[in-house]
Amino acid sequence: MSEQEIREEYIILEKSRTNPDAFGLLYKKYFDRIFGFIYRQTDDEDVAADLCSQTFLNALKSADKFTFRGVPVSAWFYKIASNEVNRYYRSRKSSKTFSLEENVIRNLYEQANDGWDEEMIEQLLGYLVELPAEMLEVLNLRFFEDKDFKEIAFILDITESGAKMRTYRALDSLRKNFKLKIKYDGKG
């Protein structure tokens, strides 16, 4: 996303402080992505719909608090969504669920291996399960949402180098053990 596009979105957000209808443009543009992001972490469409709605409502309520920090407005939505998901799990006191799209895994896997290997996929899941949740969050943003490290840092409230380090550690093992073609250089 170019600097110009980021600024244009910021201007829309500024307008929505006085005219909530303007926020509709951002809602329309990012609803599906935020829904997918939440759905991947809840595996429940109704819950994802509720949390997604709450995410945009919170964003609209605090539109006047958002300050331009060089990241797209969408990063702010992801940040709110991430907080909503965490709050949801805290209130339920249950462990977090990540549901990964088979087609994405399959594409990645088949690029480096000969065909779909169920046993290998089981091993991959076994590896992912062992990862701490904060590493999975980074992988989710980097791998499924295609976020750069600056955005990941903003969304998870960590430093950019911290985001790089977490991604590197999580992906390095994946690349070595499963020959997955996942980039971690931050260039998308």
């Binding site: 595996d43 719909a49 549901s99 087609n103």
Partner: protein, 219 residues
């Protein structure tokens, strides 16, 4: 953060199957409701603050009124009073500044400005014998004096200290101030002039009435 559960799902979310969840008008409605609620809370808090402010003003006013009621003006409130000072055959006049003359339920409090840079002289006279013991001034008795159609009450006090040489007597009329100071070493002060010729006449008659009653003026 604890461990997580990982699932692989076949279902792919597409814009079409998310249409049912995409509802901006509903979101706007929620937002409007939130704004109305926020406004109501703000109004409530402002009203609360305003009520607290008004109540505190009322409280302060009532407190001030009660305080004023506790210290009612007794007689002359302020002014330059001239006393005739006598010590045997020697006479002189002395000017004292009255700062306040007030009455509470049980006491009279008369304050004169201190002379020659000394602290103010504060006299706390009990209203009657029941209030004796609260200050060093002890109520001894009183005399009613009728002048014209008005009845004045003159109260007599003794500055009750152990050493007789330091004792003093005071004749106080609440409608004026201290009429007579009489010390044990024969230095006496008689109120002569309060700045009003007509009232001065009444004052002189009161002092004469005290002087004419040996039982009352004994010191």
């Amino acid at each position: 953060m604890g461990k997580v559960e990982i699932k692989i799902r076949k279902k792919i979310l597409t814009p079409d199957n998310l249409t049912q969840y995409r509802n901006y008008p509903a979101l706007l409605k929620k937002y409007e409701r939130h704004k109305r609620f926020k406004r109501a809370v703000r109004i409530f808090l402002y009203s609360l603050a305003l009520t607290a402010f008004v109540l505190s003003l009322i409280f302060v006013s009532v407190w001030k009124i009660m305080l004023d009621q506790g210290h009612k003006a007794a007689g002359i409130q302020q002014g330059q009073l001239t006393y005739l000072k006598t010590n045997g055959p020697v006479t002189d006049t002395i000017s004292l500044q009255l700062l306040s003359n007030q009455a509470t339920d049980s006491m009279y409090q008369v304050v004169y400005k201190g002379t020659y840079g000394r602290p103010d002289d504060v006299f706390k006279f009990p209203k009657d014998a029941y209030s004796n013991g609260k200050t060093s001034y002890r109520y001894v008795g009183e005399k009613k004096v009728v002048i014209g159609d008005h009845e004045y009450i003159v109260k007599k006090y003794i500055y009750d200290v152990p050493h007789p040489a330091n004792r003093a007597y005071y004749f106080y009329c609440p409608e004026f101030a201290i009429l007579i100071f009489a010390s044990s070493w024969h230095e006496n002060y008689y109120l002569q002039d309060i700045g009003n010729t007509d009232t001065n006449k009444t004052l002189h008659l009161l002092i004469e009435a005290i002087k004419a009653d040996p039982e009352f003026n004994y010191w």
